[in-house]
Symmetry: C2
Subunit: 338 residues, 2 copies
DNA sequence: CTGAAAGCGCTTACAG
DNA sequence: CTGAAAGCGCTTACAG
């Protein structure tokens, strides 16, 4: 592969001059510039980003650690992150933690070794030494979706509380009184917050949230399946299962189906995170939708602010309830929500 | 951040010695080794992968260009690719082409600039100059899923023909005679092959495939929606719509629902690529399942073979039909397929 | 077993 | 406007 030396030789100038035209440095004569450009073209020269990074100490690359690539929510987040990053001149390397702290740490280590300019992370746990070191060590960093309390890093997320309250009101209106939740790992903010929001909303209506109605999941489908089986085996099973993410809702659906039960007649179902498939499941699933694209874009902007030395800003957007049929039919006044 | 010099100073040895212990070079005295390790630990030193790459001319990184991150098939593929790569000591950088050739080329260019060791690609088109140059230019490369005829690059894919034949036989058995397909872009192999397989299978049963029953899609949901609307507006609409991927099936479902029609009573639906949600859609969707995990792993192994100078091997696995209820109820003899 | 030195491909003060 | 030279952080023949 042609190097800058080859270009310099071909153009009859020094490598410094080649470098200058490549970086649009103003002080290059039109003639030299033309010769360099011609040489670049003739040789099909492309600058070596590795060498450039070593020299400039910047890679124009962002790392994104997501909790699970198989989760459509994170996949949508990754897509918007990549788009915004590209618009700002950065590439992004995605690390899939698969909800496993060790794997998350592996990716953080690898990304740091590659000297990415900044890190966007949705932490899988409450804060591994790895992640805390990175934050304290001055690596530009922003939390998206999930965050770690007590760490001084900007957070970009959606506040689901009002939407959870709307959901609970909706369930109550439909006559449901025994409401259960499949929670995410307590070590994640979204794992615990969603339970708290749910509990508070129930409390406001004078409804209890017994321990037996809190299933412990890990945001993946299997755990939703197991938690739901446990609910269904209870002497007094819940009227409704609220899954704290879409994959656990999928697992819940599997478990309900395996039992030969129907949604919503036998048991109602709702989920946090809306996805296109929820329109077409049997029945369509009532869900809380996050402004995923906006979150991704805001997170990138915040991170680039940190990287480029501007004061970064935490951002909290809001989620909204999308009512479909999985919790039962409102008496009247239904409107379709595609 | 501590560099190798700092470690050398701390340990009281030369940087050469530090480098040797870092790379487990045999000829280092136990004493020197211990001192270096202690210094590494004390300083929290991590080798700079950028510098190492520049020197060794290898990045231990693979590029993966997928056609669409929002497509669960590619997401599953990406996951298995990353897993296998990690097992072999490589990282992977994913580029999402979003089914857009320019975006695909952008990512190829970026990845090449970063001097990735090899490229795994599922081409969005019939072969941009970008991709052909990379292949001819000696970049280790392997095609996964889709490929480009006439380019000397190993291909790892699934042959869907037998499964398509099974599907058509299944449809015929259920009494369907007017079968339509939503194809992917003709410039992609999977776009054209699936139509050919479908046409051939119909031919064997003496059924035609009129042009009006070939919808032109782009593997994304919207195109499936539009193609289906067109089918439904036909004077003689088809009995069955076969979508050449899962996202176009989602779009088809949207269009059918918008028209107030039911699947399979009013129109049957089948899809290429099986996904977990198809079990829970209304109705569960009959689909052709690829061995996605195996494809991803085989592709990585083939690519690493090329990179490390071993003779690479093209691999063709097979897909299989998973019958559910979206094409109608077999008279008897049904078995559930979760 | 060990170190001094060259060199990977760039960028960028410095001098002219 | 231009070039020679230093240096980013490593690895690795070479000499001892």
């Amino acid at each position: 592969m042609a190097s800058i030396k080859d270009v310099a030789a071909e153009a009859g100038v020094s490598v410094a001059t080649v470098s200058r035209v490549l970086n649009s440095h103003p002080s290059v004569s039109p003639d030299a510039k033309a010769r360099v450009l011609a040489a670049v073209d003739a040789l099909g020269y492309r600058p070596n980003a590795v060498a450039r990074s070593l020299r400039t100490d910047q890679t124009r690359t962002l790392g994104l650690i997501i909790s699970d690539v198989l989760n459509p929510y994170f996949t949508a987040l990754a897509r918007s992150v990549e788009e915004e990053a590209r618009a700002l001149g950065y590439s992004v390397i995605i690390g899939n933690a698969d909800e496993r702290p060790e794997l998350q740490d592996h990716h953080i280590r690898t990304l740091l070794d590659r000297r990415i300019d900044g890190l966007l992370v949705s932490p899988t746990d409450g804060g591994s030494p790895q992640i805390l070191d990175a934050a304290r060590g001055g690596t530009p960093m922003v939390f998206v979706d999930r965050w770690i309390p007590g760490v001084d890093v900007p957070v970009v997320r959606a506040d689901g509380c009002p939407a959870v309250r709307d959901l609970v009101a909706h369930l109550h209106r439909l006559g449901h009184r025994r409401l259960a939740i499949i929670a995410g790992p307590a070590a994640t903010t979204t794992g615990s917050e969603r339970v708290e929001a749910f509990r508070d909303a129930l409390g406001e209506l004078g409804l209890p949230l017994p321990d037996a109605y809190i299933g412990q999941g890990d945001f993946q489908a299997d755990s939703g399946r197991r938690a739901t089986e446990r609910f269904l085996a209870l002497p007094e099973p819940p009227d409704v299962v609220f899954a704290a993410d879409n994959l656990m809702a999928l697992g819940a659906l599997d478990a309900i189906r395996a039992r030969g039960l129907r949604v919503p007649q036998d048991i109602a179902l709702a989920a946090f995170d809306d996805i296109p498939w929820f329109v077409h499941t049997d029945p369509p699933v009532t869900a809380i939708a996050q402004p995923t694209g906006d979150l991704g874009r805001a997170a990138v902007r915040a991170l680039v602010d940190v990287i480029e030395g501007r004061p970064p800003q935490s951002v909290t957007l809001s989620a909204r309830l999308v009512v479909r049929r999985s919790c039962g039919e409102p008496a009247s006044n239904r409107r379709s929500n595609l």
